[in-house]
């Protein structure tokens, strides 16, 4: 979707404020939000792409105003309600409705093991690669209302495939629980001048990871 989250190339966002000796969390509730997100994801009711898309669905004015962990909290509440893990009424009151069942959560060891293992996005299936290193490609001009990992600034632009990362799940469908749709993922180099015109340095380039479905041959 063409949301405010797709920020590459925008102007007017102000200076970069780097904090010296920044703590991992600025308040205890931020740490709880991170941990709750990771623990609740373990139920497998959504995936990382659906989780990202849920943040993109925060209305633009709020998205820009919220801190990172406020977005994570908002996203988590939406995901929990949508998955039916708690009702909106329960979330509103903070108490389970009488008679609702009780689940058995993942232990500390179980969750630690899950995070240590990670969730690879690669799939061990044979899918033909449409491109190979050195191929000239054009990023498609698409404007889906749903999730996509093809940023606006690269759409319609010419690039060169630099590397085949292998077969990865396709976030654009997976975010909507429409399947993994595994396909080849490539590192694609775009000259800075192709993206931004003559104001850019002739020496510079931007590399994006894009999938077969994002690219067309030139």
């Amino acid at each position: 979707m063409n949301g405010v989250h797709d920020m590459g190339g925008m102007h007017g966002m102000g200076p970069i404020a780097r904090e010296e000796d920044e703590p991992t969390f600025h308040a205890p509730w931020e740490a709880r939000v991170l941990a709750l997100n990771l623990a609740m994801a373990a139920w497998g009711k959504w995936n990382i792409d659906a989780g990202r898309h849920q943040i993109e669905l925060i209305p633009g004015d709020q998205y820009l105003r919220m801190s990172y962990y406020e977005k994570w909290l908002t996203r988590l509440i939406e995901l929990i309600a949508r998955a039916g893990l708690a009702t909106p009424a329960e979330i509103e009151t903070g108490h389970p409705v009488p008679g609702s069942g009780k689940a058995s959560p993942l232990s500390a060891e179980g969750l630690a093991a899950l995070l240590a293992k990670g969730s690879p996005a690669t799939r061990d299936v044979t899918v033909a690669a449409r491109f190979e290193a050195g191929d000239r490609v054009r990023a498609k001009n698409i404007n889906p209302v749903g999730h996509t990992r093809l940023p606006r600034y690269a759409r319609g632009k010419l690039g060169t495939v630099e590397r085949d990362h292998g077969v990865h799940v396709f976030p654009d469908t997976r975010a909507h629980l429409l399947g993994d749709n595994p396909q080849h993922l490539y590192s694609v180099r775009f000259a800075a001048r192709e993206l931004w015109g003559d104001q850019a340095s002739p020496h510079d380039s931007v590399y994006l990871d894009l999938w077969d479905d994002h690219l067309e041959p030139v």
């Binding site: 509730w29 801190s67 708690a86 959560p105 993942l106 232990s107 990670g118 969730s119 600034y153 990871d209």
Partner: protein, 215 residues
């Protein structure tokens, strides 16, 4: 649910001074609900927080960089198959499942960003700093990388090639900074102490001696 904050902060808010008053309460209520429903174990939350506050962080990445500086064979493996090479040193897991390491040289400078969200290589760098997740960095790193670097104190020659890596997939990028001049006789451990988080994102150089400041 419908809470909106009226802070209008164009700059990252200093949360220590200006705690969003209801976020802390909402999180507390949510956690207690999920615990009561048996959906989370508070001890598991404590352990996750302990892990990301104290065990996973840029010192991991610094040890990878220092090892690559002293061991050419390791450096070759790191640049060829970063996920496996990083796992050799014991670092792996969530948000580091597919690693690529890009090398800075006198002719090439690499810079990592995630314009669409905040993708970052957790096992080697920990959780991302606020500025990396902020709109100013995410918007400008791809269109004006030299301006961003200048603003952060790093001036590059016009002749240097800048490569910006926008983390649009589950591949995560780590910059292998240039080993600083004058560090030839340093031990791997001492070298590791010179390597900063910002150098591994690509917004700073590693400098020697450290007292000169890396940023």
């Amino acid at each position: 649910m419908n809470t909106q904050h009226q802070h209008g902060h164009s700059q990252p808010r200093d949360a220590r001074q200006e705690l969003p008053p209801d976020s802390a309460l909402r999180v507390k209520a949510l956690e207690s609900l999920l615990v009561e429903k048996g959906l989370v174990d508070p001890a598991a939350l404590d352990a996750v927080i302990e892990t990301y506050e104290h065990k996973v962080g840029p010192r991991n990445g610094a040890s990878v960089v220092a090892h690559a500086w002293v061991d050419p064979a390791y450096k070759k493996r790191l640049l060829t198959d970063a996920t496996a090479a990083i796992a050799e040193l014991g670092y792996a897991g969530r948000q580091g499942e597919h690693m690529v390491v890009v090398e800075n040289t006198p002719k090439v400078h690499n810079l990592v960003v995630c314009t669409l969200c905040s993708c970052y290589p957790w096992p080697v760098l920990g959780l991302p700093p606020v500025w990396y997740k902020s709109a100013p960095y995410r918007s400008r790193a791809v269109i004006d990388p030299r301006g961003v670097l200048r603003e952060l104190g790093l001036e590059l020659s016009e002749q240097v090639e800048v490569r910006v890596w926008d983390s649009t997939s589950e591949v995560r990028y780590l910059v292998l900074p240039e080993r600083p001049v004058g560090s030839e006789n340093m031990s791997e451990q001492a070298l590791s102490a010179l390597v900063t988080r910002d150098a591994m994102i690509g917004v700073a150089r590693v400098t020697f001696p450290k007292a000169g400041g890396g940023e």
